[in-house]
């Protein structure tokens, strides 16, 4: 476990080495946050006034954008690492690929946000408001918070973009790798939220919790 034991070794921690650990910790915090929200959602569901809302179909499109984004970002990280590990023309080719894929990965996140917004407007048109229906309140709240985390990811994406524009080196590759990891995390959280909103009903909760 040399990575976790005295890693000071010869150098002080390379900044991005620590950033990797920091990202894992942050993902832990985010997981705790959304898990607690899901727990609150499930607990609130037990109330007699619960009435589920029909989820807008746009959510499937959103999911698709997240899947695409994760796949593309993963490939971008691979390409950037390829560029960093090579020199000359070979590196150039990888760098071009990395740039293209990174741009696409960012675009996928943006398109996800657009699709979520579209889902919101669809609900608003169906007169489903913030308040009045707890299921709706949760829907808006959970998607808003997830969306905020995606926006945060886009800020990190900007840092990675600038890094790659600067030089197709190990540092840039590392930045993109971390972004890709975060994209996967956002997708994982979305899966948790989407499956809960779509799949968990009061009946299921009652059966699992053994409530009559």
């Amino acid at each position: 476990m040399t990575a976790l034991s005295s890693p000071g070794g010869l150098h002080p921690p390379r900044p991005l080495q620590a950033a990797g650990i920091g990202l894992w910790v942050f993902m832990g915090v985010g997981s705790a946050l959304f898990t607690l929200f899901v727990a609150a959602y499930i607990m609130r569901m037990e109330s007699s006034d619960w009435s589920s809302i029909a989820l807008p179909r746009q959510l499937w499109l959103s999911t698709a954008w997240l899947i695409a984004g994760s796949l593309v970002m993963q490939a971008a990280a691979g390409a950037a690492e390829g560029a960093a590990g090579r020199a000359g023309v070979a590196s150039h080719a990888h760098r071009r690929r990395a740039t293209l894929l990174l741009a696409t990965g960012g675009a996928c996140a943006l398109l996800f946000l657009a699709s979520q917004w579209w889902a919101w407007t669809a609900l608003a048109q169906a007169r489903v408001a913030w308040n009045g229906n707890a299921a709706a309140s949760f829907f808006y709240l959970l998607t808003a918070l997830h969306g905020l985390h995606v926006i945060g990811g886009l800020i990190a994406w900007g840092v990675a973009w600038r890094g790659l524009a600067n030089a197709a080196d190990e540092r840039a590759a590392r930045l993109i790798r971390l972004c890709a990891r975060y994209w996967h995390f956002l997708f994982g959280i979305w899966l948790l939220l989407f499956s809960t909103l779509a799949g968990v009903t009061p009946e299921i909760v009652r059966r699992i919790c053994g409530i009559d």
Partner: protein
């Protein structure tokens, strides 16, 4: 002093801050940030102290002070509680002590994310400003109690409906952002930035306490975030997360279906780990203070680490002992009473080990040691009364009474605060290069220790009598005898005296920082790494050109055969003083000075001289 060197890390002095603003204001140096956190925390803590004195004026002398209306009383109760728990204790232990001590104790130059560290302070300051702003909005701050229970917190009849409760919730959300940023730093730094030889099990317990507390904070504060956002929406957007169908001052409202108990579960899922976020750093610091001032290794270091980790883990499954009479499913009471009483076991182990460290020690009754001894007494008292409240059926008549108030003040207020004082007296010479005035320190100690014991010990008995908490007036209750009111007067007078007396400590801090007696670099002759920086106070980068290398644990005190009664963590390996596990022998007769590096056992061979230049880390067997 350290003689083994590593190759230069890429630390350079060019990026050292030079202007006043970058050195002391927009600083990314963990030491400066720590002092910033501590200063704001102490400042807001003094406000909390004043609020508590105002509350006691009302309890001791009800009706005498016309300006103390019921609204004011409940607003002060709420702000006092929230300030002390969150904005003082949490910020001070994690942001103050965590920031200062972690890099120095593990041999790092700074936190691994210095920019985010700096941001976390300014975000914390913003949260404090937003909180205090609630004093100035129409209707004033919220008066819902620090627990902010709905539906009352957002309904008429509770002060703060015109901005107070909203600002409180926003302030908490901002604080949680700051804590997350700081927490990422502390955890990653401990995992990533330890100097060579500094394995996790050679870190001082101060670091372990703060490290585990930070992990708790990172996982528990999200629950407060969830409940805070949902309550804010209930108040401002008319949602019904927590709001059942209610009548507000005669008017039926539009809320429906929400669950007040949902808030309580979320709040206490945060709230119970929160008390350990405050307690665990205190535990760690106490272990270090005892070792240094009794010249004896902390008894059972690994058990102490285990206990900190186990307490941290268990703290997530005891929360509903705050809800035994809340109206939740009655069968939960069995589980939570059991888990709560189980957590008493590792906590008790820690108390035994502190006390056993004193046994056959060489006890110097310095001011830090005095505060530590006072901690043991008050924590023992406060912890034992927790057993009353954790045992569900004993809790039933005691909940909501002054027994609870006395318990949590003793165990969260008095005990950790005594540790804060002791720690500041202990590390002040490191931070400033000067000693705090010793006579003032003794005076401060005696008044604070005896005063707080006199305040809170008798208070338990008022609770057993049944005297309810959060009452601004007890007139006309026949079951409360006149003697109880007289006791309240006594408690108030002592509280006012102790409160004002803290100014002496503040004076000592400020005066000694500039005029205190010059201190030697290691006035307490401690063994842990932070005392061995090339400069005192440590300069930017802490360690000069080369990071230290560490060869032993932090508790090599009174090692048989050693020249002095302590061996620095980074003293050459030949001086002995290895941790017991490295020596392999149980019962502690190994680690004699003069032996060469031991072999065998648990395999903690010290590092061989490391090759220069890039490449992999030296091959060495180390326990994680």
């Amino acid at each position: 002093m350290s003689t083994a060197h590593v190759a230069d890390d890429d630390f350079d002095t060019e990026h050292e801050p030079h202007s006043f603003w970058t050195k002391y204001v927009w600083s990314q140096d963990h030491k400066v940030i720590a002092v910033q956190y501590a200063s704001v925390a102490i400042f807001v803590g003094l406000i909390g102290l004043v609020l508590s004195n105002l509350m006691r004026l009302q309890i001791g002398f009800p009706g005498v002070f016309q300006f103390i209306t019921p609204e004011h009383y409940y607003q002060w109760v709420t702000m006092h509680g929230m300030i002390m728990v969150i904005y003082l204790l949490t910020a001070l232990f994690l942001g103050g002590f965590g920031n200062y001590m972690i890099p120095l104790m593990i041999g790092a130059r700074d936190m691994v994310f210095p920019y985010m560290n700096m941001l976390s302070f300014w975000v914390y300051l913003l949260s404090v400003i937003v909180l205090l702003a609630s004093f100035f909005v129409p209707g004033g701050p919220t008066g819902a109690g620090w627990t902010l229970y709905p539906p009352g917190a957002v309904m008429s009849g509770t002060p703060g409906q015109e901005g107070g409760i909203q600002l409180m919730l926003v302030s908490l959300i901002i604080f949680i952002v700051a804590t997350t940023m700081g927490g990422l730093n502390y955890v990653t730094t401990v995992l990533q930035a330890r100097c060579p030889g500094m394995t996790l099990l050679r870190m001082p317990l101060t670091v372990w306490g703060i490290f585990v507390a930070t992990i708790l904070a990172l996982l528990a504060f999200p629950a407060l975030f969830v409940s805070g956002i949902m309550m804010l929406l209930d108040k401002t957007a008319g949602t019904s997360f927590f709001m059942p169908a209610v009548v507000q001052m005669g008017q039926v409202t539009n809320y429906r279906g929400g669950s007040p108990l949902l808030f309580q579960h979320l709040f206490w899922f945060f709230g119970h780990p929160e008390v350990y976020i405050v307690a665990l750093p205190a535990f760690g610091i106490v272990s270090d203070l005892i070792s240094v001032h009794a010249r004896k290794a902390i008894f059972g270091y690994r058990t102490m680490v285990w206990a900190i980790v186990v307490i941290g883990g268990l703290s997530f499954i005891v929360w509903a002992h705050h809800m035994f009479v809340a109206g939740m499913n009655p069968w939960f009471g069995f589980f939570f009473a059991t888990s709560t009483l189980i957590i008493a076991v590792p906590t008790a182990i820690k108390v035994y080990n502190w006390v056993l460290t004193l046994w056959r020690g060489d006890i110097h009754l310095t001011v830090p040691m005095l505060f530590t001894l006072a901690f043991i007494l008050t924590f023992l008292a406060g912890g034992l009364t927790g057993l009353f409240l954790g045992n569900v059926s004993v809790d039933i008549p005691l909940s909501g009474t002054y027994f609870v108030v006395a318990h949590f003040h003793m165990v969260m207020g008095v005990a950790p605060l005594l540790v804060v004082f002791g720690a500041i007296y202990h590390w002040f010479p490191k931070i400033t290069g000067r000693m705090l005035d010793d006579r003032l320190g003794h005076l401060h100690f005696w008044v604070t220790f005896l005063g707080t014991y006199l305040i809170y010990f008798p208070m338990h008995y008022l609770g057993v009598l049944g005297m309810p908490r959060r009452y601004h007036n007890y007139a006309d209750y026949e079951f409360i005898p006149q003697s109880a009111h007289q006791l309240n007067v006594f408690i108030t007078v002592v509280a006012l005296f102790v409160g004002v007396f803290q100014l002496l400590f503040v004076w000592n801090l400020l005066w000694s920082a500039f005029r205190g007696r010059q201190a030697s670099p290691n006035p307490w002759r401690a063994a842990s790494l932070e005392w061995f920086t090339p400069d005192t106070p440590p300069k930017h980068g802490n360690w000069g050109k080369q990071l230290p290398v560490v060869y032993r644990w932090a508790y090599a005190y009174s090692v048989p055969g050693a020249k002095e009664d302590f061996i620095a963590q980074n003293a050459p390996p030949g001086e002995g003083g290895l941790e017991p596990e490295a020596v392999g022998a149980q019962g502690g007769h190994g680690a004699h000075a003069g032996h060469a590096a031991p072999t065998g056992g648990a395999g903690m061979a010290p590092p061989r001289p490391l090759p220069l230049g890039g490449g992999g880390a030296a091959q060495r067997k180390e326990s994680p």
